[in-house]
């Protein structure tokens, strides 16, 4: 065990894109658990788009990060000292912990995971919240049916790459877009998308989407917002569903961006837009995880990660993820498994 605990804190609130200045690095001794607590050695740290929203001082479904406090994230780690009867030394756990080498937890929201045939980091991606989000959004919210066309924005990301594959496994036609030729190639060759395009090279997003969804979109799995959302809206079929998972394009706006033009089509096409938060659907998440294990084992479900090493890389990993530089799930590895 290291004798110090490096921690990353929120130094200031970003007013647009996040910069390195918004973070502060501190060091402190590794803490001791009090009665009821466990001490977790953090192994993998997840950086996710929704965290950008928590950096604003705005009321939302998760409270904002506080200035000066250690940032929080999904973490996979190992219990190294326990004064909580639910956990034993050596247990692998998953929960919302800090951007730090060691975290104390009272056990709330912390759950044990089994080290199986896959890296533990999978519990922050395909077997964790992003994968569950893809499943809930596609089926519980979007009601995707066999034979329908599903369009996924941010298609190569942690959520999108799973959403596209689940739709394909379900018998849907799947199209998506991503921000580099490399990612588009991955969508086609690795994740089995039927069609995909690079939105940074598109001269007309509505036409690019129409080209990959010639019959129109039945289910839009919306991760991005902004111009891509608008273009998808224009390509919806009658009775289409839009699962609103997030709007990365808007997270960085100091000002609230207006919504898409063409909202009248929601009436004319009888569309349903529905926002959701994955933690509202715990039973569906369990159902997904058992299926996902099997699909991974069978090779039907593929998974990619971008892994940086060391707590000091967490801020840049987060910024890179927001800028779309990652391929697959962005992970920060803090220690060996």
């Amino acid at each position: 065990m290291s004798d110090k605990n490096v921690e990353i804190r929120l130094a200031s609130r970003p007013t647009g894109w996040v910069t390195a200045d918004n973070f502060e690095r501190t060091e402190s001794p590794v803490p001791e658990p009090s009665e009821g607590e466990v001490l977790v050695r953090n192994i993998y740290l997840s950086v996710d788009p929704y965290m950008r929203g928590r950096m604003n001082d705005v009321k939302s479904y998760v409270p904002p990060f506080k200035l000066g406090e250690v940032l929080q994230a999904g973490v996979v780690g190992q219990v190294v000292a326990s004064r909580n009867s639910r956990f034993s030394e050596g247990d692998y756990v998953n929960g919302m912990l800090g951007w730090q080498n060691y975290s104390l937890s009272n056990g709330q929201g912390l759950y044990k995971i089994t080290k199986g045939g896959f890296p533990l980091s999978y519990h922050l991606g395909v077997l964790g919240m992003p994968g569950m989000t893809a499943y809930v959004g596609l089926f519980t919210i979007g009601h995707a049916k066999e034979g329908e066309t599903v369009f996924v924005s941010a298609a190569s990301g942690a959520v999108g790459s799973v959403a596209g594959q689940l739709a394909r496994i379900h018998g849907c036609k799947v199209a998506g877009c991503a921000g580099s030729d490399e990612k588009v190639s991955l969508l086609r060759k690795e994740f089995g998308y039927h069609a995909a395009f690079n939105y940074r090279k598109s001269e007309s997003l509505p036409k690019s989407i129409a080209a990959v969804c010639p019959k129109g979109i039945d289910v839009n799995f919306e991760n991005v917002g902004g111009a891509i959302f608008e273009a998808a809206l224009w390509n919806m079929r009658n009775y289409g569903r839009i699962a609103l998972c997030g709007m990365v394009a808007n997270y960085n706006d100091a000002q609230n961006e207006p919504g898409p033009r063409g909202m009248m089509s929601i009436v004319g096409k009888r569309l349903t837009l529905r926002g959701f938060i994955v933690t509202d659907h715990p039973e569906t998440c369990k159902e997904y995880v058992s299926k996902a294990y099997q699909w991974l084992a069978e090779g039907k479900l593929k998974y990619r990660e971008t892994v940086t090493k060391g707590i000091d890389t967490a801020p840049s990993a987060f910024i890179d993820m927001l800028k779309g530089r990652n391929v697959g799930k962005q992970i920060v590895q803090l220690a060996g498994e």
Copy 2:
């Protein structure tokens, strides 16, 4: 029977607000029905907001009006000559017919109505498409539940005035807004809204809505779009539903207006926005009409009309309705019952 048929045709497509120049008046002899047709003497003509959309040359759920052709509307009339076995001379009928004194119909979309205790014009309003729209939007789309707060924009209009009353009858808290003090007074005193305000006098629409919906909005019955829609969105409660019935504010825009700011709240609050068209729900409409007869008879459901007389008043009645000058349902009376 008059010996001539005055007709109003679309002379040009409006590029913003509709003006008198967009219409052309023609006269022709009263036509004779061919085999399979009926000739209808038109008694009441409905002018409705959605018709503005049909004046644009844009693909939508109803095809655009054609230049030079007689405009169409919901009409209540009486069969004066029939060569269709389904209809007899003297039958009262309701259907999509022309802005004209006499219409020919092959019977498609034409259905018989019974002259009951209410004026026949009610079949164009509270007992017709607007009333059905209120019912479908509130319950089938919005899932309004007893004790919830319902907010209705364009609350005194043909659809809104029924929506608000149905919500109240169902045990909801009902608030709405309208465009004059006279209409707001009507909302409170005649239609039984629990709270209402004049949006033209509001200094902050979000604050005005918050004042009439102190717990927030569970169901927003959206008729208007634009700034009022945005303000309603900001006041939605978690798991709220928005029934998108129409967006009058956007019908007149030559350019497509952007959607509301704050769409991210759809995710955070897990909102559902759903567009609908009443004709998709024929069974629910029947269910409504039988209930509405009873509520009208019992005095639980109130109804107001603004009636102009003569086919030549149809263009101005339509323009006035779009500008919100009508109180209750705007009707053009062409002949005596």
